[in-house]
């Protein structure tokens, strides 16, 4: 006999003991999306330290948190089988896992989430114990912490006479999901360390307001505004910005059309959670 077909049981040694203080993933309270090309440190302390800046950084390393999750409905994941032809079936693979998250109804959030459709993402899950879950990719020194590969769909369901309106965020995990779970990685992120996503803001009538909601952010960040946080239509910051506490309004010098700078500028200057968007006029 010549030739061999080598076995592939190298990784097939299951260690089936019960773990002390076992942790199982509980209900998801936050999702952290990121570009499929980006990766993050495996070390928990480093990840936690870096995380706030990742929300406002520019480029592919930016993380997009989604919170306000009310419920989760899981479908798929069933074992597919094939008929062996003699009255037996054997497991072949798993059906695609689809997670449907119910979010607090927010039309402005809906308008942002639909931008995520049709794009590949990776997503970290954070459970109600504050643990973050993702997967490990690479080997040796190239090992990195990354979210699960997925695609996203968003559904906005209007209120009816009997049911209130909801926003549904569907996550379609990839065919690699089981392999990713095999390399599952998680640690205690801490509830207090889960960042909020960014809200787009514009300057309107001397106020910084939510681009969609119109909510006034001027007074929320009252003492924090600086001239460097604004950009004129010609791309330069104002010479000065004055905040009048009595009116809650900002005045720019020279007068003109201004926008709020990007989150990457605001964050290091002390304002997080919002980002300016380019002028459209």
């Amino acid at each position: 006999m010549a030739g061999r077909v080598l076995g592939s049981c190298v990784d097939a040694t299951p260690y089936t003991g019960s773990n002390q203080c076992a942790k199982g993933e509980s209900l998801t309270t936050a999702l952290l999306f990121h570009n499929p090309l980006s990766s993050y440190p495996l070390d928990a302390a480093t990840f936690i330290t870096d995380l706030p800046a990742k929300v406002y950084t520019t480029g592919i390393d930016r993380i997009y948190p989604v919170k306000n999750i009310l419920a989760l409905d899981l479908t798929g994941g069933d074992t597919n089988t094939s008929d062996a032809g003699s009255g037996y079936t054997s497991p072949t693979n798993k059906a695609q896992v689809i997670a449907t998250y119910t979010l607090e109804n927010d039309d402005c959030l809906y308008k942002e989430l639909v931008k995520m459709q049709g794009i590949s993402w990776r997503v970290f899950r954070v459970d109600q114990d504050g643990y973050i879950y993702g997967t490990v990719t690479g080997t040796g020194a190239n090992q990195a912490f990354r979210g699960f590969q997925c695609k996203v769909a968003v559904r906005r369901v209007q209120a009816t006479g009997t049911d209130q309106a909801f926003l549904y965020l569907e996550i379609y995990y990839s065919a690699q999901y089981e392999a990713e779970l095999k390399n599952l990685h998680g640690f205690n992120l801490g509830e207090e360390n889960i960042p909020d996503g960014l809200v787009a803001v514009v300057v309107d009538g001397g106020q910084v307001v939510g681009e969609c909601s119109g909510v006034d952010y001027t007074t929320i960040y009252g003492p924090e505004w600086t001239a460097a946080m604004f950009i004129s239509s010609t791309g330069t910051p104002p010479d000065s910005v004055t905040y009048d506490d009595a009116t809650g309004l900002l005045t720019f010098d020279p007068t003109g059309t201004y926008r709020v700078a990007d989150a990457a500028v605001l964050g290091p200057l002390g304002i997080t959670g919002i980002t300016g968007v380019p002028l459209t006029t």
């Binding site: 600086t226 910051p237 000065s240 004055t242 905040y243 506490d245 009595a246």
Partner: protein, 62 residues
């Protein structure tokens, strides 16, 4: 650099403006913008001198 007025209002002046202005030009440019927040214009001028002098690391003249 920021100058806080008495009622939680303030002005933030870009470093570039302070850096590129003489003390006299700086006061002339900024005084009209902040004078209304002071009871006495002289106090406003003194605050501007403090900011300009701090930035240029120049002793404040009495």
């Amino acid at each position: 650099m920021k100058i806080f007025f008495s009622n939680k209002s303030y002005i933030d002046i870009s470093d570039e403006v302070i850096k590129s202005s003489t003390k006299k030009a700086f006061i002339k440019k900024m005084l009209p913008k902040i004078a209304r927040y002071y009871r006495d214009e002289k106090e406003a001028e003194e605050d501007l001198i403090k900011v300009w002098s701090a930035f240029h690391k120049e002793p404040i003249e009495n």
